[in-house]
Every structure is written in structure tokens, then in C-alpha cells.
């Protein structure tokens, strides 16, 4: 009985470790492998310091360590100063974050000055892995109505699908049910982009591409103004990959959205 209970606990601990490892490994970026470097340096550093001290002693470079009392006092003072600085740094960070949010809102208003807009925050995100909805904190009391366009600092977010007095549900352009009529900024070739469940939640698919259209990687894509929901000229994203098929009418392209929906915070709803 005791053995069974013990093995159960071990099983749970092992599962927790596996889960945490899976989460970390699946989200880690290769360029962030400095962590491994840090671990190695933590192990190696004491030995390295020891050897350096020994080398200094032998070569007579140890005068730095003679005045230990002074060094201790200095160290205490520095520690005190350090904690004070850390405190002010924390305060500064709070002010900085506040400032960034306000600036973002102001920039957004200036950038889209031609439109009559109302700004809001994302207060709720989708719980499903297969859809892309967000809820914002502005509703019919602020003049928001269904089918209004929602934008962010970097570009198009989506459109309002339903409203309450103080909130609105927004269908983002990555939602599989979403379709946006777009054009390539340079060549003005038109196509339809559809939301997709693949990728990191920042990919949409360009379909119904004219057979003679030339799609080049990293070209900017914007709204065409057709369809009655989205105004013309709002940045959508950039072409990431063009997939040519046997049948030229089936050709499609993957577009990386300008907006990172996992970090979406401040939005503007276009009222007119």
C-alpha cells in the first residue's frame, strides 16, 4: 500500500517535470540558449576564480586583496546603494510601462487621425486553440457597433462581431472564419486572405490570387477597401511564403500578420 502510494507520488512528480520541460523546450528560441551558457559558467566560475587567485599570488599581483576591512565597508555601502537603486528602478519601470501604454494610445490616434476612433484594451482572450476571438473594454455606450474595424499600432486586428454596453467581441483576422479583401501595396494585385489555425497564431492565408499576379516574399499587404467592412489602406502584414501548385488557380501564399495577437493590448475601433 505504502509502496503504491510512493510510486504514485513519484509518477506525479515525474509528470510535472516532463510537462514543465515540454513547455520550456517548445517555447525556447535557439538564440536564447545563453541560459545553458550561464549554467556552465556558474559551474566553471568558482574554479576559474580560484586558479586566477592562485596565479596572482604566485606572480605577486595580490595587493588588491590586502586591505580587506576597507573592502568590507565599501561592500556594505555599495550593497545599500544597490538596494536603493533597485527600488527606484522598480518605480521607474512602473512609470515607464504606464508611459508606453499612454504613448501607444496617442500614437495610434495620431497615426489614424483621418478616422473617428475610440481606443480600448483587450480584456479577454479566446480559450480555444482553433479560433481567434478577443473581447475589448468598449461597447455600444462608446459608440461601437457590429462590423466596425478594429486596428492596433502595427496594423489590422479584425472586426467587431457583437457588442454589449461596455464590451465588444472582436473576430481577429487569424480566426478561420475571417476573410479580408487585400491588395499588395506595390503591384496592387488583389486577393482574399483567410484566417488559419496553423503557425504561431500570426499566419493568414492568401487565396484567390490572380494567375498573373507576382507575389514576392516580404512584400507588404494592405486592405483593399472592398467588402464593406475594412477601410482601404490598413496594413495587414507581409508575404512570408508563396506556394505554387500544379493548378495555378490553387496557388496560395502565407502572410505573417503585422500584429502579434498574443501580445495585443491596446486597440482602436474605427467608428466612421
Amino acid at each position: 500500500m505504502y509502496k503504491k502510494k510512493k510510486s504514485g507520488v513519484i509518477g506525479i512528480v515525474v509528470t510535472v517535470i516532463i510537462l514543465i520541460l515540454l513547455v520550456i523546450l517548445s517555447n525556447i528560441k535557439i538564440e536564447n540558449l545563453t541560459v545553458v551558457e550561464n549554467v556552465f559558467s556558474t559551474i566553471v566560475m568558482p574554479f576559474q576564480n580560484g586558479f586566477t587567485m592562485l596565479k596572482n599570488k604566485i606572480s605577486g599581483n595580490d595587493t588588491f586583496f590586502t586591505d580587506l576591512d576597507n573592502l568590507k565597508n565599501e561592500n556594505e555601502e555599495l550593497k545599500q546603494k544597490n538596494s536603493e537603486l533597485e527600488q527606484s528602478l522598480r518605480e521607474l519601470e512602473i512609470i515607464k510601462a504606464e508611459n508606453t501604454t499612454l504613448k501607444e494610445q496617442m500614437n495610434l490616434k495620431e497615426k489614424y487621425g483621418e478616422y473617428n476612433t475610440v481606443s480600448g484594451y483587450v480584456i479577454n482572450r479566446d480559450i480555444s486553440n482553433y479560433t481567434g476571438m478577443v473581447v475589448i473594454n468598449v461597447g455600444s455606450d462608446d459608440g461601437v457597433q457590429p462590423n466596425m474595424t478594429v486596428i492596433a499600432d502595427k496594423g489590422l486586428v479584425g472586426n467587431v462581431v457583437s457588442v454589449t454596453a461596455n464590451t465588444a467581441k472582436v473576430q481577429t483576422i487569424v480566426d478561420p472564419a475571417s476573410s479580408v479583401s487585400c491588395i499588395i501595396s506595390t503591384s496592387k494585385d488583389a486577393f482574399i486572405t483567410k484566417g488559419s489555425i496553423n503557425g504561431s497564431g500570426r499566419e493568414i492565408r492568401a487565396t484567390y490570387i490572380p494567375t498573373d499576379a507576382v507575389l514576392v516574399q516580404d512584400t507588404s499587404v494592405e486592405t483593399s477597401g472592398l467588402g464593406g467592412i475594412y477601410p482601404k489602406g490598413i496594413h495587414v502584414g507581409t508575404i512570408k511564403e508563396v506556394v505554387n501548385t500544379k493548378n495555378p488557380t490553387d496557388k496560395y501564399a502565407t502572410i505573417e500578420t503585422a500584429v502579434d495577437f498574443s501580445k495585443l493590448d491596446t486597440v482602436l475601433v474605427i467608428l466612421n
Binding site: I12, V23, S26, N124, I127, Y130, M133, K169, P176, A177
Partner: protein, 177 residues
């Protein structure tokens, strides 16, 4: 009185899971895929508290999710109601005392729930189907649900038996006489 406390606790569990799904799992995820703890919650309720409680809790929880975030009201309510119903059916045929059986139930119901949800939404909103991507995400989600079920198995068992005591009537098993 005890039943009222149980219902209150179920609602509290729903709120905690909702909070976790909306906030915690948006960053604690496997390759951008979150688990679906609502399926586990409704399965456990259906399994331990019986058919009626399972279905009604599934429908109410689904309706709340639909009201909070979905585009169409009713899809999640129907599918979660079905999860509660199947949970109760599984109780009749399988033993819920085994960890492996519970894990298998979680696998079956996670897959069934997501396929049904995706199919209904695809029909309503005319999705262009991306089956390969869908099944990759579904596999990761199911794995995540399994890991969470293994971790919380002792708690699930404890809460489950407390539910069973309050919601299921004591039946005389005539075959033993």
C-alpha cells in the same frame, strides 16, 4: 445543503479553470497550444455525479463560455453537454478507479469534443478545412490534457467521490442477492 455546496464548488472550479485558460495557459503552453480543462471538468462531473448533473453542468458551462467569448451561442453548450452525457455513459461500462481508464476517457472525449466543435464551426462559418494542422494541434492538446490528468489524479478522485456521494442515489445491486 451539501448539494448546494457541491454546486457552488463546481462553479468555483469552472471560474478557476476559466481564469487559467484565459491567463495562465496563454504563456504556459506547448508550442502555442493550450490544454482544454473544461473537457476534463465536465467528464469528471458526468462520470461521478451522473447523467443529469453531467449534461446540465456541461450545458451551463458551455453557455457561459459562449456568452463570454464565442461568436455563436450554443455550439460549446451542445458539445460540453455531450461530454457530460458520454462521461455518465462511460461510468456504466468502465471502472473509474483506474488511472489508465480515466486517461483513456480524457483522450476519447478531448478528441471527440474538439472534432465536433471544429466540424460544427466549419459548417456554420464555412471554414476552409486545415485537417493536418488541426490534428497536430489536437494531438498536442490531448497530450497536455493527459499530463494534467496524471498530475491532478488524486484530487480528481477525491472530488469525484465527494460528488458521487452527494449526487448519486444509493442503488441496491440486486445481482449480489
Amino acid at each position: 445543503m451539501k448539494k448546494a455546496v457541491c454546486i457552488l464548488l463546481m462553479f468555483l472550479a469552472f471560474l478557476i479553470i476559466y481564469f487559467l485558460q484565459v491567463n495562465f495557459f496563454t504563456w504556459f503552453n506547448i508550442a502555442g497550444v493550450m490544454p482544454n480543462l473544461f473537457v476534463v471538468l465536465i467528464l469528471v462531473i458526468g462520470l461521478f455525479a451522473g447523467k443529469n448533473t453531467g449534461i446540465s453542468t456541461g450545458i451551463v458551462a458551455g453557455l457561459l463560455i459562449d456568452i463570454f467569448i464565442s461568436k455563436k451561442i450554443g455550439v460549446t453548450a451542445i458539445t460540453l453537454g455531450l461530454v457530460g452525457f458520454i462521461g455518465a455513459l462511460l461510468d456504466k461500462n468502465f471502472s473509474k478507479d483506474s488511472r489508465i481508464t480515466l486517461i483513456l476517457m480524457v483522450i476519447i472525449l478531448t478528441v471527440l469534443y474538439e472534432i465536433l466543435n471544429y466540424a460544427i464551426n466549419a459548417i456554420i462559418f464555412s471554414y476552409s478545412l486545415e485537417l493536418i494542422d488541426f490534428f497536430i494541434k489536437l494531438a498536442i492538446e490531448t497530450l497536455f490534457n493527459i499530463l494534467i490528468t496524471i498530475i491532478f489524479y488524486p484530487l480528481i478522485q477525491k472530488c469525484g467521490y465527494a460528488l458521487e456521494e452527494n449526487f448519486k442515489e444509493t442503488k441496491i445491486l440486486t445481482r449480489y442477492f
